[in-house]
Symmetry: C2
Subunit: 177 residues, 2 copies
């Protein structure tokens, strides 16, 4: 098997921001040749598959990067070093008003390993009851409870494209068959 | 329904790089309040689910951002404005040496809509035959043909975490049931 490991020579920060940092590191390829690696540092996210009576809770949110409103499962950014379970409980509650007794870890996703270190921890909410929605300041979204069969159709028609949402819905569909 | 659209006031480029650009835009929230949006511009990617005799072609690659070797379906970055079908055929051939007669579009993923405009176009390779691997300069990876049942187990155990790979494998598992 080919040796694959790359070595960091020097980390170079270009930008330190609110939701991400950017580095352009000097590194060495496995054959010892120099290379540069553009890396987006992100503290990670927690996302929640929340299913109530065969309906999935989706938030519709304007995503500035795409200039579109898109559907996603409730999710949010981790505070630095935060336990993703705590973040999952908080984000579900803030965005949808739903409270979960327990979060079961389903899997963890690497959204775009070519340039970011972000990890998305995906949970299934258990023991769900109604609480009260309380969005962050500057957060605007609409919550919809969508029948699962309809949500699968939305993936097929390209109306749901968010990676964590597609993966979580497919995962659940496999589990129950 | 709540009004969700945000408006761009001014695009501010912070970095223009090889695989990504970074902007920090001045924008307006739906309620008219100012905000800033950190956006990673990326030209998009094409990825290929390639299945030969109940085995899936996976590449094992060192991903600098994570400091790990991870499994992914063959994939690569689009040249600016490139047809993703062309990129899918090229990347499959370069990385695995496999040639596809046809690429069927399965779905398109938004990997991390909170900060990037990257779109990943996912195809299934059809009419596969053996060619010759010819990696890009500076590209180091190992190709493995892994039985599908084993690949699903690797997702369950957290050994496959790449979002496009998880989504493509789950998609295929749903389709054939």
């Amino acid at each position: 098997m080919m040796e694959l490991k790359e070595k960091t020579v020097r980390k170079n920060y270009i930008y330190r921001g609110k939701i991400l940092n950017l580095r352009c590191d000097d590194a060495l390829l496995p054959d010892g040749n120099p290379c540069q690696r553009e890396i987006v540092e992100h503290s990670g996210g927690a996302a929640v598959l929340c299913i109530v009576e065969e309906k999935v809770a989706l938030v519709k949110q304007y995503r500035y990067a795409y200039g579109e409103e898109i559907y996603e499962i409730p999710a949010g950014k981790l505070e630095k070093g935060e336990d993703p379970v705590k973040a999952a409980i908080r984000e579900l509650s803030e965005e949808t008003g739903l409270l979960a007794e327990k979060m079961n870890h389903l899997f963890t996703l690497y959204p775009s390993p070519g340039y970011t270190d972000e990890k998305i921890y995906i949970y299934k909410a258990e023991g769900i009851r109604q609480g009260k929605e309380h969005l962050d300041e500057g957060e605007f979204l609409n919550v919809e409870l969508i029948p699962l069969s309809q949500a699968y159709g939305m993936i097929d028609r390209g109306e749901i494209r968010d990676a964590k949402t597609v993966a979580a819905l497919f995962y659940f569909r496999n589990r129950i068959q």
